[in-house]
């Protein structure tokens, strides 16, 4: 679906990280956690390509005026890294954006009742909030949030409000444990009784580690990948990631925008 969205708010939630709420069509309420949108940040040609962002949240907003119609919205949580995100961060309420979405394949919600372990690195948390919102309906959910410094640990309060138990770790020790969040994940898995599954989004190195941990414990693991995207609809073949059996001789590329961005870790090829 292609639509024009009116920005409701755009605020810096942590140095360099922004949260934008914008109007969405009615159908957006049924977006799957893990799906994404492609945002055209300008009507001009610079930047030219759309930018992909996870869906942080969806909901309905009732404007303060009496009699106003309830307005479905979507939220993105984004980090300013380059030209496009810098431009996004300069936008204000009532500015318009052109969006495509919801795109791609989201997370499978797994077996109700089993414990759900969510692992997010930095802005990788973005698509995990909507996921947590769904998962808490039927399961115990724990969040493992990692980042370089405390500025990279985002929106923990929001997760806690859902009833998610949160573990945080930073590489410089400025918030939570000092080190990698995967250590806390190991520890939790050691204590685990019964089934569980893992959901992760973040830097590729972190996903690689999490997939390894889940595989070692034999529990299901879904990861959300990034990829350089031009179209978002499966046409340009720019965004592909190597599938499990991929090799030079037996190539096996998966389209991140349509077959993903969420994959079972086992479907993909990982570095050892």
């Amino acid at each position: 679906m292609q639509f024009t969205s009116l920005i409701i708010s755009n605020i810096e939630v942590s140095p360099g990280y922004w949260r934008m709420r914008m109007t969405a069509p009615q159908d957006f309420a049924s977006a799957e956690p893990g799906q994404f949108v492609m945002v055209r940040v300008t009507g001009a040609i610079d930047p030219l390509l759309r930018r992909p962002f996870g869906i942080f949240d969806v909901g309905t907003y009732l404007p303060a005026q009496s009699g106003a119609v309830a307005q479905p919205y979507l939220e993105m949580l984004y980090r300013v890294v380059g030209k496009g995100t810098a431009l996004l961060s300069t936008l204000h309420e009532t500015d318009l954006l052109d969006l495509l979405g919801p795109l791609g394949k989201g997370f499978d919600l797994g077996t109700p009742g089993e414990e759900k372990l969510i692992v997010g690195g930095g802005v990788g948390l973005a698509p995990l909030y909507l996921l947590a919102k769904e998962l808490v309906k039927n399961s115990k959910v724990r969040l493992f949030a990692g980042g370089r410094t405390r500025d990279d640990i985002l929106c923990i309060t929001e997760f806690e409000r859902l009833g998610v138990e949160c573990y945080t770790a930073t590489e410089d020790g400025s918030l939570g444990e000092c080190g990698l969040v995967t250590e806390a994940l190991w520890r939790r898995l050691d204590q685990l009784q019964g089934g569980a599954s893992v959901y992760a989004c973040g830097p590729h190195g972190m996903l690689n580690a999490v997939a390894g941990i889940a595989a070692a414990r034999g529990i299901p693991c879904q990861v959300s990948l990034e990829g350089y995207m031009a179209c978002g609809v499966g046409a340009c073949l720019g965004c592909v990631a190597p599938g499990h059996s991929h090799s030079q001789e037996t190539p096996d590329f998966r389209c991140v925008c349509t077959e993903g961005p969420v994959f079972d870790a086992g479907e993909l090829k990982w570095r050892d």
């Binding site: 030219l48 031009a230 046409a235 340009c236 073949l237 720019g238």
Partner: protein, 308 residues
């Protein structure tokens, strides 16, 4: 007030009737289906498939695309499902769509090109062929077929002998004289020429000290390249008799009509479909509106109508 006459938007491309001059460019519109949610596939003139080869191809490692000022580079590496899967998995969907399908294809050798042309000739749903000659000739040291007039002519001659369907040759812009290439292809039996394919470009990641693309260089497309494409279309249109399909940086109806003035009978929308998946339909609609506003009855009157 004058009653509004709906302008005639039809053109005929090498015998293929098109409801309007707007085609989609190979590699930027998948196999049509990907865009069904965004474009009424029966509102555009023709669809060109992703480049097909005999065997499925995996393509290059990633990163495969990178944005540049006003454009993008791609090094997809001609990943495609191969002709078998095209027939079994993509053609059935296309069969239901009343819009001509042009099959874009390539080979590593002249024989492969000819075999592809023969195979595509047998598919009734394929209205015409577009040969991508911007591929390295694996038998002859990797020199790209599309940059040497002799090699290009050999490819076209071989394909010509292998199909009775309209045969369009897609020219590379990475040459000193595109007119020489165009004439060689025309003389070898091309029914139409499409241009331009991508220019060769490169992007560098300064901090990592590496090329951005895994393949180092990539094909440059998008609005940035339009001036080069327009120049080449104009040069070629003056020099050959076969119809021309203009490609390169077309983002809107004005761009499209400019290519027609330069001599194109039809145009292809490439990168624009990434930025706006509905671009092809919108361009066709806006072209018609422009003709109404400017009181022009027939889009064909614009072809080559540039006054120089």
């Amino acid at each position: 007030m004058k009653p509004v006459r709906i302008p005639d938007m039809t053109v005929t491309l090498a015998g293929i009737p098109l409801r309007n001059p707007v085609m989609t460019a190979s590699g930027t519109f998948g196999y049509g289906e990907e865009f069904a949610g965004y474009v009424d596939l029966e509102s555009i003139g023709a669809m060109v498939t992703k480049g097909l080869s005999l065997k499925p191809r995996a393509g290059n490692p990633t990163p495969r695309i990178v944005e540049t000022p006003g454009g993008m580079l791609n090094a997809i590496g001609l990943q495609n499902v191969g002709i078998e899967a095209f027939v079994t998995k993509k053609v059935p969907y296309l069969r239901g769509i009343d819009t001509p399908v042009i099959a874009n294809f390539f080979g590593n050798t002249i024989d492969e090109y000819a075999e592809m042309a023969m195979r595509l000739d047998e598919i009734p749903e394929v209205a015409g062929l577009e040969v991508n000659i911007s591929c390295p000739n694996v038998k002859h040291g990797g020199i790209v077929f599309g940059t040497d007039p002799g090699s290009a002519a050999s490819v076209v001659t071989a394909c010509r002998a292998a199909t009775r369907k309209p045969l369009m040759v897609k020219l590379s812009p990475n040459v000193t004289d595109v007119v020489v290439m165009a004439k060689a292809c025309e003389d070898a039996g091309a029914d139409a020429l499409s241009l331009i394919n991508t220019l060769t470009g490169m992007a560098i990641d300064l901090v990592r000290r590496r090329p951005v693309l895994a393949n180092i260089t990539g094909g440059f497309s998008g609005p940035a390249i339009k001036p080069i494409a327009l120049r080449m279309v104009w040069q070629v249109a003056k020099a050959v008799k076969v119809p021309i399909v203009g490609i390169g940086g077309i983002m809107n109806a004005v761009d499209a009509l400019e290519f027609m003035l330069a001599g194109a009978t039809a145009i292809q929308v490439g990168t624009a479909s990434f930025i706006n998946p509905g671009a092809s339909q919108k361009i066709a609609e806006d072209m018609q509106e422009w003709l109404v506003e400017h009181d022009i009855d027939d889009v064909k009157t614009l072809i080559g109508a540039l006054e120089t």
